[in-house]
Amino acid sequence: MTAIDTTRPGSDAANKDGPSRLTAHGVHAWFGNHHVLADVNLDMTPLEVTALIGPSGCGKSTFLRLLNRMHELVPSATLAGHIELDEVDIYRGDLSATEVRRRIGMVFQKPNPFPAMSIAQNVLAGAKLGGIKLADRDATVERALTRAGLWNEVKNRLSMNGGALSGGQQQRLCIARALAIQPEVLLMDEPCSALDPTSTRRVEETIGEICSEVTVVIVTHNMQQAFRVSQQCAFFLATEGEPGHIVESGPTEKMFSEPDDQRTLDYVNGRFG
């Protein structure tokens, strides 16, 4: 049951069953001459939520932005390595940046609903901006808002300005907006850091519900949250003068109880320093 018009070339992949696998292999990133990420290898498996943890400035956001080609929007930014979406290299293959971003959605730390659009228009913004024809706009709006756990709160005021919601509602609107174009992967960069506990719980529930359809990668500074929502976990670290890298990655259970590296154990228990 998809609302996206399948006649567009290149959108077939978006309609195949199940979420996609995203793999990073030997990935590096630079801002100018500043080497911020070195040799990152990570497998982001479908049907599971992958959490990226680590102190700030260690390159988690940079890594996330590499995954859907947002990194290249910074003029001085460069990268190396291979990132594959279902075995297709997103930087070297036939995929355009637009196509990659359509298939790999993103939710930002700060909610950014478009202020000149209504709630419904915000949800449909992805289709509009990408020039996608929608079969049934109302159904798409309802489905996306329902999946993001916002439908009941806004169903009576869909034509109202998107900026006129509370912070938590705005963030769920941004999630709905990302889900409306049916991405295969959803990247979330500290989506709850500006939210209250109730909104945070709603977003976490949303993540739990959507991970059967979308591969979710989430950056979080909240260890309990990482433990609650994720099945896989990767610990990033950048030491003084060294680029960021993954210290350890694996199943969340193991990372939080008996990690191989002492630094991981210290970090997840809040004893890092």
Partner: protein, 401 residues
């Protein structure tokens, strides 16, 4: 001053209906209205102003032989501030008193600027009003002779010319100007710097230079006749850079997060510009266009040089000489005949009126002005909503977004 801002935010909100989910039996809880000025304070202000006036008058007129309006005003304002400070110190601590003093000072400066504007407009109306008749808008000057009274004939030829010329200039310069602004702020190519420098340099071109340029290129070299269109082209030379520069500044105010948000949805760049960046900056773009109009609407040189002289109405801007309002005023105010001078003032008044109407229409169009009050500008627009139910949500979350 912080107080007064809160006051605005609360007072401007539409009268909230009781929220739907509240039981009908429950009375609406009393809402707090933060008010920084009470009646007693207003009286205080008036009293101090009067006291200062009396004191300065005494010194100026009775004790010393000083004279001069400007000196009197400055002395009065200084005395007023000092006295106001003393009065405030009686009741408030230093911080609060200083806050009030600065508020009054800024308010005073704003009043001076407003007064200057009011004097100019008031004088134009005063001079033009007595000879303004309704037929000023419906007939031209064809039957007006040197001995006709000031109320004879009208400015239709000039009004039609002004509207058509500015309209054509808008058609030329708005697409070019907005396009240039989009290029400068969104495309950011290698050409960005030279283009920006070029636009800024163009901004400084006086309208008479633009008029001479069109005269040489379009009328002399290309063998065209004088026409409203030639005037419009000359006006565009001044209007385009104004629109482009202002528009660029406004587009830069659109938060980068919105651009990233659009691209992260797999959006195409030109669609992002059309659907997100431009609508977000709508208010500012309309301001840019209004500024462009005001830049050229008073220029007399283009009509003088490229428009030819015509006392009869010419509806076709592409053929034949066409008058416009600034040139009409310029021409008539220099005539040695009293009636002609009076007509010039009427023309000036109509010109001011047209600018005012344009301004109001543009503001209503951009949604920042409505009959109930002024809007709150580009950034706050995002939080304004039509429903009072949301207004509370939005204001309580003001800091988080």
């Amino acid at each position: 001053m912080t107080d007064s801002r809160t006051d605005l935010a609360v007072a401007d909100a539409p009268p909230p209906a009781p929220p739907a989910d509240q039981g009908s039996g429950k009375p609406e809880p009393e809402r707090i209205r933060v008010r920084s000025w009470s009646w007693s304070e207003a009286a205080e202000l008036g009293g101090v102003a009067l006291a200062a006036l009396s004191l300065v008058w005494l010194v100026y007129e009775q004790l010393t032989g000083l004279s001069g309006g400007l000196g009197f005003f400055l002395c009065w304002f200084a005395t007023f501030l000092i006295m106001y400070w003393i009065v405030q110190r009686q009741r408030h601590d230093k911080m609060a008193a200083r806050d009030r003093l600065v508020t009054v000072m800024i308010g005073g400066l704003a009043a001076v600027i407003f007064a200057a504007l009011a004097v100019i407009i008031g004088y134009v109306i005063f001079r033009g009003y007595s000879t303004l008749r309704l037929h000023f808008f419906t007939v031209d000057q064809r039957h007006v002779g040197p001995l006709s009274p000031a109320t004879a004939g009208g400015g239709l030829a000039a009004i039609v010319g002004s509207l058509e010329q500015v309209g054509l200039a808008l058609l030329i310069s708005v697409p070019l100007g907005v396009g240039t602004a989009v290029f400068l702020s969104e495309v950011k190519g290698k050409l960005g710097r030279p283009v920006r420098i070029f636009v800024e340099a163009m901004n400084g071109i006086p309208s008479i230079l633009a008029a001479i340029f069109i005269y040489q290129i379009w009328l002399i070299e290309a063998h065209n006749q004088v026409s409203g269109f030639a005037v419009a082209m000359a006006l565009s030379i001044s209007m385009m850079p104004t629109v482009a520069r202002t528009c660029e500044v406004v587009l830069r105010l659109v938060p980068g997060g919105l651009r990233e948000g659009s691209l992260a949805l797999g959006g195409l760049e030109w669609r992002m510009v059309r659907n997100v960046v431009l609508p977000t900056a709508r208010t500012g773009i309309i301001t840019a266009i209004v500024l462009g109009i005001t830049r050229v609407v008073g220029a007399a040189a283009p009509a003088l040089i490229d428009g030819g002289e015509s006392n009869t109405v010419n509806w076709n801007p592409f053929h034949g000489p066409q008058d416009d309002l600034p040139y009409f005023v310029y021409r008539l105010v220099r005539e040695p005949i009293k009636a002609e001078n009076l007509r010039a003032w009427t023309g000036a008044m109509v010109l001011v009126g047209i600018v005012l109407v344009l301004f109001i229409v543009a503001r209503m169009f951009s949604g920042t002005w409505h009959p109930l009050g002024w809007g709150r500008g580009l950034i706050d627009r995002s939080r304004r909503s039509r429903s009072p139910l949301i207004e509370t949500d939005a204001t309580s979350n003001g800091g988080s977004s």
